[in-house]
């Protein structure tokens, strides 16, 4: 970035060109979001202040952001923000960046469940977006959220606090149902709902992933063995033990996993009904299974 008098519009133009040269896929939006973040302006405000000069105090950190983006650091890790269910969440390298498809897990629960009071368990909560957006919508529900990663739980707690529902969600650390087993003696270990966005990418897909995902997001949130089903298999097998009669298990799965997941569900006699729901791209993405 040459030394000269920079205005917002010059900075954006220059950055778009630089991102393009370096193979960053959506150069203009990335440039606008990063500069807007740094100047504390919305995209609209950036457009309104194209002529505004940008001074050294912002140019130096902006250079740093550009350098990191060129190295494929995800934009959300640079801004520490990602919106989910129209709510703003904090994210950093400790957690998976929420994907739009995952909103369908939340929407399906909210549309299916009409009961006032529900006990819900979320496994592998990560940034806590699922538990938090459910808590915001359903203040009467009691939610327990677990994660194997202590550092992810710190992010999830922060997000629950931001949206004023920390008291409604109990965060427990441990692998899948492990922390629930630990409260076995004094607490209620059965839930009306178990929800999970488990890791489901095959180890063999690693090379084909974009570096933004592969090199920056937590492995534990992405990969699940050679067939990508290691965690899903455990969930389907273990969940019935933790569900109340009529309780439901709801999972996000990978784009090509529906048939195998059907076989797994068919083999598990505890489930009386299940369905696979498509995402907006027409891929079977959400598994909703009930026990009798």
């Amino acid at each position: 970035m040459p030394d000269k008098m920079w205005r917002v519009v010059d900075l954006l133009d220059w950055t778009v060109g630089y991102f393009q040269q370096n193979g960053i896929p959506n150069p203009r939006l990335d440039a606008e979001v990063l500069l807007g973040h740094l100047l504390e302006k919305s995209r609209l405000q950036l457009y309104l202040h194209f002529e505004m000069p940008v001074f050294q105090e912002h140019l130096t950190p902006f250079r740093e952001l550009i350098k990191k983006r060129i190295a494929h650091t995800p934009v959300s890790y640079l801004t520490n923000h990602k919106e989910f269910m129209s709510l703003d969440f904090y994210v950093d390298e400790r957690v998976l960046i929420p994907r739009p498809e995952t909103e369908q897990l939340v929407e399906t629960i909210l549309m299916t469940e009409t009961g006032d009071f529900q006990r819900l368990l979320e496994l592998g909560t990560g940034s806590g977006v699922i538990a938090t957006s459910l808590a915001v919508q359903q203040p009467e529900w009691e939610i327990v959220a677990t994660d194997i990663s202590e550092s992810a739980l710190a992010v999830a707690r922060k997000n629950a606090e931001t949206h004023a529902c920390a008291a409604q969600i109990e965060f427990l650390s441990g692998d899948l149902f492990e922390p629930i087993e630990a409260i076995n003696t004094n607490g209620d270990t059965r839930f009306d709902w178990i929800v999970c966005n488990p890791p489901y990418i095959k180890n063999t897909e690693r090379a084909a992933l974009s570096p933004d995902v592969r090199d920056y997001e937590p492995e534990v949130a992405l990969f699940a063995g050679d067939d990508g089903l290691a965690v899903i298999r455990r969930l389907i097998a273990e969940a019935p033990k933790y569900l109340t009669p009529g309780g439901k298990l709801i999972l996000e799965i990978g784009a090509a996993q529906a048939d195998t997941v059907r076989t797994l569900l068919d083999a598990e006699s505890a489930y009386c009904t299940y369905e696979l729901l498509e995402d907006y791209a027409g891929k079977e993405r959400v598994v909703l299974a009930s026990i009798s």
Partner: protein, 331 residues
């Protein structure tokens, strides 16, 4: 209305009661505004008499300034009074579409978007990006804003039509003069749910960037949603850096506004047919030219209102143009 509100049972229908209260509030506001203008006018008259009696020159000067200001406010409020259409008080959904002609007209669409956003900012209105589709090289293919505040639709409805730009092209290697076009669509936001009847099964929802596995495999800043209204084939897409949930909400609001406009257009056509009239197609009319070269001017073709300062107009200085149009519509 106040008497009615005090009756027992009035709040049994809370929705109607709330609507009435809102209407009452705005009536009161209008009333106190005109009362204050009328007080100001009579004060000025009294002062004038006094100043004439005393022969007080400096007071007369002050009265002159105040009178000019008052007549300006009066003119503005008179225009607001013309905004009595059923939708004039609603938020406006403003879409800008670049015309044929590549980068130049895409840049022109972006300049127009900025003009409306600036107008909103100066007028202290709420402005929200609902959709933005970038041009290939620069500018915008299309974009949609929602602009709120008093009589947003009433005012902005004056902007509907084709806007033309003449300038030396910054994108032409020889810097030649180019003419670019962009279409501006302005719709009132749809209000009550029953205003437009849409059943959930009539809407198909998908994402138009859906190749590849999606989910955890892909991570992007933007999310995109496309709604198709099956009975009419109407399509609305929204793409922003906001969540898919939020984009779907924007897309739904735009779709409802378009369906409402369509419904009203059909009604107007039927009515005109009954009366044996022909409806002039307002759509596609060139309403205004912005010339940056070889001279500087903005001219509205409907009112012949003109400005020699296109920079100020493009920076949101639109009120004179809007008001000239609204007055011309009265006559």
């Amino acid at each position: 209305m106040e008497r009615e509100a005090a009756e027992p049972g009035y709040w049994d229908d809370p929705r109607k009661a709330q609507q009435d209260m809102k209407a009452l509030g705005s009536l009161k506001e209008t009333f106190s505004l005109w009362q204050s203008l009328s007080t100001q006018a009579s004060t000025l008259l009294e002062l004038t008499e006094l100043a004439l009696e005393d022969g007080d020159e400096s007071l007369l000067e002050q009265i002159g300034v105040d009178t000019a200001e008052l007549s300006k406010s009066l003119a503005r409020e008179e225009i607001a009074l013309t905004l009595a259409g059923p939708y004039d008080g609603r938020p406006a959904i403003v879409s800008v579409y670049s015309g044929a002609g590549g980068t130049d007209s895409q840049d022109w669409a972006e300049m127009l978007l900025k003009m409306y956003a600036r107008w909103g900012e100066v007028e202290k209105r709420t402005v929200q990006i609902m959709d933005m589709a970038y041009g290939d090289e620069a500018g915008l293919r299309s974009a949609t804003l929602e602009i709120g505040g008093p009589y947003a639709y009433g005012y902005l409805s004056a902007e509907r039509g084709v806007h033309r730009l003449v300038r030396l092209s910054p994108y032409d290697p020889n810097n030649l003069r180019h003419t670019s076009f962009a279409q501006v669509e302005v719709l009132p936001a749809a209000g009550e749910e029953e205003e437009v009847a849409v059943r959930p099964e009539e809407i198909k929802l998908d994402t138009f960037r859906s190749s590849g596995p999606g989910g955890q495999n892909v991570q992007k800043v933007a999310s995109a949603v496309r709604l198709t209204h099956l009975p009419t084939g109407m399509v609305v897409s929204c793409q922003t850096e906001r969540s898919q949930h939020q984009n779907r909400e924007y897309a739904m609001r735009i779709l409802m506004a378009r369906l409402l406009a369509r419904q009203n257009a059909q009604r107007a056509e039927e009515l005109a047919k009954l009366k044996g009239e022909r409806v002039a197609a307002e759509w596609g009319n060139q309403i205004r030219s912005y010339v940056l070269h070889p001279y500087k001017s903005v001219k509205d073709h409907r009112t012949n209102f003109q400005s020699a300062n296109p920079d100020a107009v493009l920076d949101g200085g639109l009120n004179d143009f809007i008001e000239a149009y609204l007055i011309s519509r009265l006559n």
